[in-house]
Symmetry: C2
Subunit: 439 residues, 2 copies
Amino acid sequence: MTTFDLVIQNGTLLTMDPENRVIENGCLCISGDTIAHVGDHIPEDHKASKTINAGGGLIIPGLINGHTHAPMSLFKGLADDLPLMEWLNQYIFPVEKNMDADFIYTGTLLACAEMILSGTTTFCDMYLFEDHVAAAAFQSGVRCLVGEVLYDFPSPNYGDLENGFVYTERLINKWKNNPLVSIAVEPHALFTCSPELLERANQMALNHKTPLIIHFAETLAEVEAIKKKYGRSPLEHLEALNIAGSHLIADHAVHLDPSEIEKMAGYGIKVIHNAESNMKLSSGIAPVPQMIAQGITVGMGTDGGASNNNMDLFTEMDMAAKLHKVQAMDPTVMDALTVLKMATIEGAKALGIGHITGSLETGKKADIIVIDTRKPHLTPMYNPFSHLVYAARGQDVKHTIINGRLVMENRQLLTLNLEEVMARAMEKAVDVRKWVSSQ
Amino acid sequence: MTTFDLVIQNGTLLTMDPENRVIENGCLCISGDTIAHVGDHIPEDHKASKTINAGGGLIIPGLINGHTHAPMSLFKGLADDLPLMEWLNQYIFPVEKNMDADFIYTGTLLACAEMILSGTTTFCDMYLFEDHVAAAAFQSGVRCLVGEVLYDFPSPNYGDLENGFVYTERLINKWKNNPLVSIAVEPHALFTCSPELLERANQMALNHKTPLIIHFAETLAEVEAIKKKYGRSPLEHLEALNIAGSHLIADHAVHLDPSEIEKMAGYGIKVIHNAESNMKLSSGIAPVPQMIAQGITVGMGTDGGASNNNMDLFTEMDMAAKLHKVQAMDPTVMDALTVLKMATIEGAKALGIGHITGSLETGKKADIIVIDTRKPHLTPMYNPFSHLVYAARGQDVKHTIINGRLVMENRQLLTLNLEEVMARAMEKAVDVRKWVSSQ
């Protein structure tokens, strides 16, 4: 008699596997950190140490937030509806100038609480003091791919750029064997990073076999700045620097023409789409249906708390699905299944961890969420994919499991003291207000 | 010593009154169905029969859903991501052909449950068997303005059009003195209603001093059809029929040029914006910032459950705010306060009930919701308006009061048996599946 550590039953499994298997009244069994069985009943000669009753709800892979600045969760609502430069100069920069490691740690705990509560099991982060982002994610039990932002000017964390490379190298070595944390090399953007910085960052990523992550073609101003400075488009600039490749994750990728999309597909560049942030900041509408049609792997992100202002991937899915329909004036664009894939298996593939997470398959890590569908806004249910994209919200997630560990049960966080995290966040907000007003 | 029936305290009052007063640690007192006091403490020589502790959260006017087809809550997720005609012919029409009063009643109870749970206290409905919509809303304790849809073809409810006018007149007389239910005259759209129908409906609305409500300029196809049939634009058609006036509520109003917007403002025509539905059905993007700039009163609606697929006005606000920013490529467009007004006081004004509801003012009916902000996605809070639009969700509503009556307390519905409503809805869904598959 073998014993599974955790068994989830009495729910509909949406596996998001290559066959898109849907198993009604399914059963998923976990051994340690790994999915040991996916089927319609627990295998014979097995029993469960602990069983979760999904209550007739949906059992799906944990969601993948492909682009975040998690600590900016402390800035949400600080400043909205402003022109970009006013937003940056009067709010964001004054705060970033003053923040420290404890600020980052607190902000990340807050973001992890929000993510767990809304069904996100993996996030990909770019910000400052990322060692502390990693530590907070690890404490929270959330899977992550993180990297220290590199740019041409001094960093509030590491100071001169040279130290940024040292810091990144240390991160890579420190977290190398961690079960939850992976490190990427993360130059900020083409307009904030010199060609030398970009080439060196790329070399470091290739040497360590980590992803290279960059904000890319997010705004028209950025595209014009690159054209003016280098006489070529952002993609041509990547090509000239020999950076375009399958290890590259391009966040945003809003302003691209059809030939560039085709080229990006050829290079195997991955894209993270941030519909809500691109809308809120008026950056533009990324040509996502066209990218997917060309075979580009496209994941989905919320971006930072100051430009969204939430980390709920359910509403991100809803907004992305609807945005592209009205943009194309075609209701068949970005159907629910395509969008749910972006937030699960395609998102995992975009981050280079499609073999680890993003679907419910034997041998993968157990990153799983259970959705409570016994609510009026999810009743009746004709099509679970439709409900997940167009009707469900993060607060419908009832249980969250990451790497085999139950991190939320019946909406209670098990890895964090929520009251304490919120109290610490409110203390940091006092500092934020002070820093902004002393401008 | 006078006694208030209900007192809400220990929260921040966002009154949405003409001065947009915000009262921290405020106190709102209710006598019967009416707001008797708004201030920072309970008046001397008064006490409370019942007190609600807002727990440091936000106390705001109940939200106004300006355009719904409430019973279609039973269709949500039935068919998505389809071309319009396939959606209508294969799904919506077969179901509507078969439905009856009990179906409508059940669907409306389900919609009312969702609305109360997500902070909507008033809705404006257009559909079939509206007497049963009104009855279900009244049972649920939700304020509504409803009307039977009128069009040139036979109705599954009343049969020939002549009976539709009789039915509408009966509705008006039956519900005349109801504290929650009001009746409107509701021709479906310009392309489904003959000029005679429209003129007669308009006359009935004027005679009874009720609003006249119509789908208007929702799609390009509709605009082209009107131009082809009558040789004039939809607005010119309204003008020719002498229908354009301040009693007219135009749902959608997507396809308008600047001169038409100016004219509509001149007539005092009200508009209900349905961002999510217009996106999901690829109808287009209504020129809302331009309409508001011209002085048109614009409210906000979710439209029916089959084209959204939810009735959460919080995500509707979020989506509308972001959609218009990216459309205008200007992040200052549709700021949070403007959007919250659309979902409260402007929505109430659009429905002709701005003197009754939509703001927290002494003498108005007590339609109030309390938002629980002690959650990580709402912590910290720099600006309550921002959080309500960009971060809060319907499930953050903790208490809902309509017409002085507590209809939800601590997220428990007090007017409906939720389990029973969902069970009945699931039974109706069995019929829906049968009707669709027997096509």
